[in-house]
Symmetry: C2
Subunit: 220 residues, 2 copies
Amino acid sequence: MASGLVLYGYWRSSAAYRVRIALNLKGLDYETRPVHLVRDGGEQHAPDYRALNPQEMVPCLLDGDRAITQSLAIMEYLDEMHPELETALLPVDARGRARVRALAQVVACDIHPLGNLRVLQQLEAEFGASEEQRAAWSRHWIGAGFQAIETMLGDNVATGRYCHGEAPSMADVCLVPQVYNALRWKLPLDDYPTITRIYQSCNELEAFRRAAPEAQPDAP
Amino acid sequence: MASGLVLYGYWRSSAAYRVRIALNLKGLDYETRPVHLVRDGGEQHAPDYRALNPQEMVPCLLDGDRAITQSLAIMEYLDEMHPELETALLPVDARGRARVRALAQVVACDIHPLGNLRVLQQLEAEFGASEEQRAAWSRHWIGAGFQAIETMLGDNVATGRYCHGEAPSMADVCLVPQVYNALRWKLPLDDYPTITRIYQSCNELEAFRRAAPEAQPDAP
């Protein structure tokens, strides 16, 4: 479906990866505009981009003349603008929605921000953190979050082929990029069998595969 | 209104403070069950509480036998279960909702988690960060986020007495506890006139004042 949507992102950004999956799941075409987070001190800090997103972070979704930031807010927006049930990113019942959002937010609030590029750069600048220390820091927070998510998924009859039932939701959209990131940091996944199973189920879907970092035009 | 809601929180937790404001704004009574985050190694790690919230963090809202975690998910849940327009935490239009959620998520994803107790403890354990270094770390991320929020608020005609128009929303509910936290870390607020003005507007409301940390039964 032609939609006039433009996504500013970066191939390896977890938050941009989420939005790519969401757009694909909803069957929405979009134009990709890469923002290189490292080159020239980071293109996200350029005045043109800062005017779109004062946070100087990716992603930012342009819908016509409207710039929408924050990956969770973008996904909720897409779900509200395109509420067709068969591609909904949230279930219909309030309790199910709360469960899916909580799972998504464990990733988006309590794992991902702690291992973000700018945080690792600050650890190096302020505390002289070595590459190995930065990797250990990242693994620590991913592990803490994954342990909670594994319990939340394993103990609940609402868990199905995906985090919530038999269709992918916002929870899966957040989980898959975080597992990708965990693999990058070489976190062993043996303690997270449900997460691993769901990660594999998701990656059988074209919507997830097409959103993968290596499939992006700006991947090296 | 009697509601049978139980809130597990801690007087000084920003995330619990958000949920208290939201419950008050919506006129919902609730029972407070304090979880002391420091005493005895942290009551959030006790088995009984972990069974409610595998993340071992506050807040957790109990609605009957259903435990709901993550403050943003709790607020969305309250808004969906109690959709009366006059106490809505989100505006009615998708673009306005995206703006409010993005503002809320700048705080909830990109400021607050970086200055959380467990993160400061980890900085001390891994890098020997002193109290002054931990304070500087907290101020750094609050400043980066507030600079973005100030621009998002200052540049937008949708900003009113509150972050979005003339009624408090989820954005204000997240912003006020973060300003409280900033004051605790002695961050100068001179560069954030809009944030400061909105903080003052909010604190004129009983719903915000009654949710303040010092007004809680577990405050020292």
